[in-house]
Amino acid sequence: MTTENRNSNAALVIGAGIAGIKVALEIAESGARVYLCDRQPHIGGTLVQLDKWFPDNHCGLCKILPVFNRDRTGQYCLRRGLLHPNIELLLHHQVKKVEGKPGRFSVTLKPEYPRVNPELCTGCGICEAACPVTDDANFNQVPGGHRAIFLHHPLALPKTYSIDAERCTRCGACVDACPTRAISMSAPDEGLQLKVGAIILSTGFENFDATTATQYGYQRYPNVITGLELERRPGGSGPFPGVLYRPSDGAIPRSIAFLQCVGCRDRKRDYCSSACCMYAIKEATMIKEMYPDTDVNIFFMDLRAFGKGHHRYYDKARDELGVRFTRQRVPAVKQDFRTGDLLIMAFDQSGEVITSRFDMVVLATGQTPSREFEETCQILGIKTNKWGFAATGAFSAVDTTREGIFVCGTASTPQDIADTLVEATAAAGRAMGFLGSEKALPVTPPRPGEEEAGAAVILCNCYGQVGQTINLREIADFCHRAPGVAYVEEVVHLCHPETWREVKARLSESGVNKAVIAACSLLPPPGLYEDTCIELINIREQLAWVHRDDGLKATEKAGRLVNMALEKIHSQEYVPPPEGESVVPGALVIGGGLAGLSAARAIAERGFGVEVVEKSDALGGNAGHVFSLLGGENPREYLENLVDEVKNHPRIHLRLNTEVVGVTGHIGNFKCTLKDERSETADIEAGAIIVATGAGESRPSEYLYGRAGQVITQRELEAGLASGRIDAAALRSVAMVQCVGSRDKDRPYCSRVCCSQALKNALNLKLLNPETEITVFYRDIMSYGFREEYYTRAREAGVLFVRYEPEQKPQVSLEDDVLEIRATDPVTGNVVIIRPDRLVLSPAIVPPDDNTALSRVLGIGLTGDGFFREMEAKFLPVDSPRAGIFLCGLASRPQDIRETITQAGAAAQQAAALLSRSRLTGGKAVSLVNERRCSGCELCIAACPYEARVKNVEKGVARVIEALCQGCGACAAACPNGAASLRELKDQQLFRILDAAL
């Protein structure tokens, strides 16, 4: 068998930010291998610089880690690193050449030089002390920072130092200083050759360089900073944790202005960066929470809070926290040189110039493609759009112009984290189709304990980093004397590959299956934990480096920590590994619209059976009402093909006029009861469920809709134009009203697609009849991303946009069959009167009433707006709160056709990754029930956040569903008598550890 004829079972992911990490994890969890490369020597991209994220102002990055197969992936904060046996990190590498074809690409990568070898770098920092060059921009975005060799992010894993190639003088001081000889200045010629089946581009964005927007005085006025600088300054790991100082004088700012759209929505970059309104509101919120009396004023053009839950967040910032919002593009910022205060010139309602004074100005800079992006795209042979982002198709956000190469996140369009994660998951799903056969990860059970073999203790000196504080000799002596220690090994540098091989070899020769490793936060590569009971203690970051002044006590403490670890592993009982449950290799898709059909096709293509259940008698859903996209493409053909493929797919079974009336069981093993129109029921099994039930359009109750024939909806206009029932040539004047039933008290959310729909229909009308006068009454035009261009085009085509305030909606009256609209322009105060032939309304997208019933059947909740709730709004945007049930399409949130297809792809990927497992197991560290002790009080069941504990009614005791258990230990802490316990930390073990500690 030669490899040439088979597709490679590996993928290359370029860019290791949040998008790249997510793609890599998804592919790795689907059983394929991943090379994750980045030009930087660390992972995390922009995201790790941000401490908190809306909508809940929390960190939750760790939530994207896989929940199954936990023992094989790093169970640590993702800010520190990414460990997965199927993922190989190629950091500080650049792609140089791509050849071959989909399924069989041949890629050349080259490491960047000057270079710190991550395998050798211990992160000790001696190089930094030796470096004579200082730099002025760093991770914390505070001037006066680091040297030319520096640690980009103090939590980064691998803890490898970076060299700023531009600043580095190649003096070689660090090369000589490095104790592990990890640094080299020049590159060897040969690169790295990889065979991969698919390539995913996730290189992210660069912030717009605010120095080029000279009118704002960035870097000339100290108190003008960027949004990212504002993130870093008071961040937990920032330079001034928990406080916001004004750069010029260290005072707490009493007033702060945010200027939106810096570097976008202009002639040069006629697109919207999509995320800046929300990040500004988040930062404003956090400032208000820190300093309620500080005046925060956001200067914006359109407030684009179009994502799920965003409008509520905006309402809260404005109404509850008192953040001020001023609709105005600020032309320039001036500084009062006496005080460092900033002066913002603006026009008031009457056109007068007024000047407001602020302590600080924050520039909400937009997203731009990175400097090297163009070159990367050339190497990959893919096209970019006119703004320099990767070009994608009208029906796929993740396919590039070259087959087998995919893109996700901000490399293709500016977007926020949640949308990026959806795209990343979808891209992984598409890439899987080009990789060699999928196989489930093998599970190696740990060996049963051989008590007499004893434990090994391995002490790492880390090239003297530990030894300079701690007397390791003394620890070793102590260990030799301690009972049950088979041998003690002191090594110079455990993470050196050579040393590591030797240590592992000795471990397996000696027959010990328990070991205490005293080293650092650099974790041993995965693979060791599987058959050895390892207790890892960190004597570098948590000891040698923090107790430098007191070697004696630090040594005593190190001894205790080793002793505590020995106590723990000595008292570790052998419990046979969880068997895991089998997985039903098929999915149930609820809903036969665009989302459901897309997901069904994608899952079937991965080799799994799919049952599609549609309530009505037709497939296609809302997409059937769309006749063209904003770019002019025809979605009907796409939909028809999709319907055909689904109907004829051998692995897809369709059930029309059918509803899901019951779901029991859990992830991997759902039992679903279906009911058809004759009320006959059928029971089916599914390993995963996809909810794609769609949403409807609200029926407007305002603006004389239903009472005057001239008043129609955008959908009716579109259908009328398509069928010719509405003759554009005969239309003299058309008015449109946006946000009909959206963004109000009853429905505090944005329906997201209506502005684009209005722009599309307005442009179409103008195309058909340039003479038609079109007036759009709007509140904020939500032309996020590249939709902005169409907003510009519409204005250029003469479409008139008149804003209205929700308190002063346009008034519509009908007299003698003449429709009249009156509105007051909030800027000029002028009254606009229009007598259009048609008034076109943009009604809200509303969740169907039967969501409530379905949500009960599925055991998952709805948001306050009635859409299906996801597990976590930002980091798990496709997962429902119940494991194994995924959301996509309008059931989850308002979104357009392309976004729906993307989310359906993401849901399909997550379902397929799940279905590809032969058995579902959690980690080794799941919880157990001692049935003899259990009184059945159910306190553990109440404590479990994952519904992993249920009552065994027959026995009257608790039972653990191991596939759902995440090993958090909440049950064990709730159980009064130890009947619930963690497999690897029982009460007595803990008591023994305490004894050793005290």
């Binding site: 008598n977 130890g978 009460d987």
Partner: protein, 376 residues
Amino acid sequence: MPTSVLIEVGEGNLREGVNSFLRSILEKKMLDALLVPLELPSGGMTAPALVSDPAMLGNANPLAPIMTVSTARLASSLTKVAASQRKVGVVLRPCELRALIELIKLKQASRENLVFIGVDCYGTCSVKDYNRLCQETPAPAEELLKRVKSGDESLLRDACRVCEYPAPINADIAIGLIGTDTGKGFLVRADSAEGESVLEGLGLKPGVAVPEKEREKAVAELAASRTKNKNELYSRFEVETTGVDNLLSVFSACVNCHNCRVACPLCYCRECFFDSATFDWEAEKYLGWAEKRGAVRLPADSLLFHLTRLNHMATSCVGCGLCQEACPNDVPVFPIFRKVGEELQKMFGYVPGRSLEDELPLSVFREEELGEVGES
């Protein structure tokens, strides 16, 4: 308006009156059995029994001022494995009823097909005092009633003298004595639909004016005086039971017999944590502890036992005081548990036994609360 009936009895016939009321319930087959204290053949002493033959109820003595075991416990045994298919009436003192409500929340008992017959309680005596009372008088219940009403609470257990719940809550049928001239009669009131249907089936109709108002007032007065007693009890024990020295001193009499835990209606664990293998240690361990402090007391961990038991059950402690009765060495466990329980319950705004709807404080949380914990 709930059905409330005054059942009249002749002077000195209170017990007989209550018994015939209970008997009529079984006779008319309103319920299939009753869990009620019966007087033992030896006389005086009572023991709870599940009675199906109405004739046996002649020996019933639900008013006897003695509580050797909490009926809550027994109702738990009766229903935990599987709820009763037939209707069983359980005659409960207020503290027993409150404990049973907690046990139901802890899934140790089932509410299904149980009818709670709550009885007003002026308090109970220790076994020793009760035996003495039985020797002194043929009608100990009435005698004690008389004494307590006249202000002589000397025979009551501490737990009863400080009990602020003399009247049952959450009963289906309440038997009222407080505020009623017990020489003439007692009160029966239906507090639920279930209770209504029983009383209706018995053909009980409101007759003479029922002294509801008087009862309410008397209950409140009694509770108030008990609160006063409670504060006195706290101040009496405050010094003795606070601080390391005092606690070690009072617990020095504890022999780890764990009788308090056995007697406690809320310590429901099948196997107590402190009897489990978690506390089995090798000799080396004990020697290690001895070396650390110079000596180690055996049996070990008595303070830890009591602190942990507090942590496990004090939020639900109903203050029945059976722990105190069970202690062979008079360790003042009742005042300690009562006081700690009260503080915990106050903190969570929780009243054990108040309602089946109230969630157990340590099983739930609110996102916005306890900001002071974790503050720096």
